[in-house]
Symmetry: C2
Subunit: 231 residues, 2 copies
């Protein structure tokens, strides 16, 4: 199941996009950080190890939060069970917000963007990853082979936003497809400035170490975004 995935077992070392994602971070020293969909809390702990003053990690999964709490005795990390679809955070209480591969499970991203904006102090960064809309748009997303034998990813229903049900790990998991434009415009509409966008692709070195990553050159699997609340 989910907890056996490389990124759950090995943490950040099992997430090939982590170097690209964490390259988007500001210096986190002394920042009050927010980790939305923290899972087992790998990034929350990384943030504290790299100087964050405090971290609030929230996740809907009781099991994950209980596991996360077992991993640390650091009193400056607060792991809480909460639904980020509806959570209201205190205004101006954070100096950095982060989320890894969570927002494609959220129905109302515009609400979330506005809420995170209010929760951040002016000048703060908000960095997150999601499943790439191109990866999850199709009715039945899976590798196919084109006439020339090339691995190919099917895209359909791209402009038709809304629920996508997959049988990845568990049957009937519900994801919410939004176009790239919808995601970026929601952030701009909330008041954020777009700082950088990345469509994760493995480096040559990563491919040498893990040939399975080669296929990630064919289609974008993850979208990484860095935005900033203006100072």
């Amino acid at each position: 199941g989910y907890s056996q995935l490389p990124r759950q077992v090995h943490g950040l070392a099992g997430a090939p996009e982590w170097p690209a994602l964490c390259a988007m971070f500001p210096d986190v020293t002394d920042r009050r950080a927010l980790d939305l969909g923290c899972g087992f809390g790998w990034v929350s702990r990384w943030l504290r190890e790299h100087g964050a003053r405090s971290v609030l990690g929230v996740d809907l999964s009781r099991n994950m939060i209980l596991r996360a709490r077992e991993t640390t005795t650091d009193p400056a990390i607060d792991y809480r069970i909460a639904d980020i679809e509806t959570i209201e955070l205190p205004v101006g209480a954070f100096d950095f917000a982060f989320s890894s591969l969570t927002f494609h499970y959220i129905r109302d991203f515009a609400r979330l963007a506005r809420m995170v904006y209010r929760a951040l102090m002016p000048g703060s960064h908000f960095v997150f990853s999601i499943e790439h809309p191109i990866f999850m748009a199709a009715a039945d997303p899976h590798w196919i082979v084109d006439e020339d034998g090339r691995k190919t990813w099917p895209v359909n229903r791209y402009a038709l936003e809304g629920e996508r049900r997959t049988n990845w790990l568990a049957a009937g998991v519900v994801k919410h497809h939004r176009t790239i434009a919808t995601t970026l415009n929601a952030l701009i509409g909330a008041g954020f400035a777009i700082e950088a966008v990345s469509e994760f692709a493995p480096t040559s070195e990563q491919i040498r170490e893990n040939l399975g990553l080669q296929e990630e050159l064919e289609r974008p699997m993850m979208l990484l975004v860095s935005v900033r609340r203006q100072a």
Copy 2:
């Protein structure tokens, strides 16, 4: 050939993305406008009809510029033959920049973004459309049908930026594939703020009037971007 396309024969009425694109425009009244890859000059003339003080339309095609010049006696429109891959425009000489479906033919988009930034006065908008990177990434981009009979668009080679050769209208036309991230980051790197992104999809009304547009819901064909040089 190219000059027989609906958008060349009927102008803006033949371009289904035009309403979405022109909705991104600022008020153009009294602005000195730039139309990069102006073709037959439809947008250059529209800009003057909507109050622009002057328009410089540039295109590499001598035939198109000669045709564009025949369409108007307006002394405030200047149609010139020039290669926007290398053109240098005067600093601060424009208050609005526009381009339609041209930049995917440009090798060095980062240079172009910096050049347009310098050519614009602070506060000015730059609005353009390109072929969507998802539309043009694949080695052989054409509709396929998935196992359930659904029209599907193939994506491969997405992270492998560079030349794409197609046989659309003429054999061996060279386009330059860049990821969405590369395009947006080049604009941000040049100093622009991203104002809005749109992945053109036809409205229900457009589909009722032209059923052929229905398939544009399956995959994004065009990327529309509005950026601004900060005031």
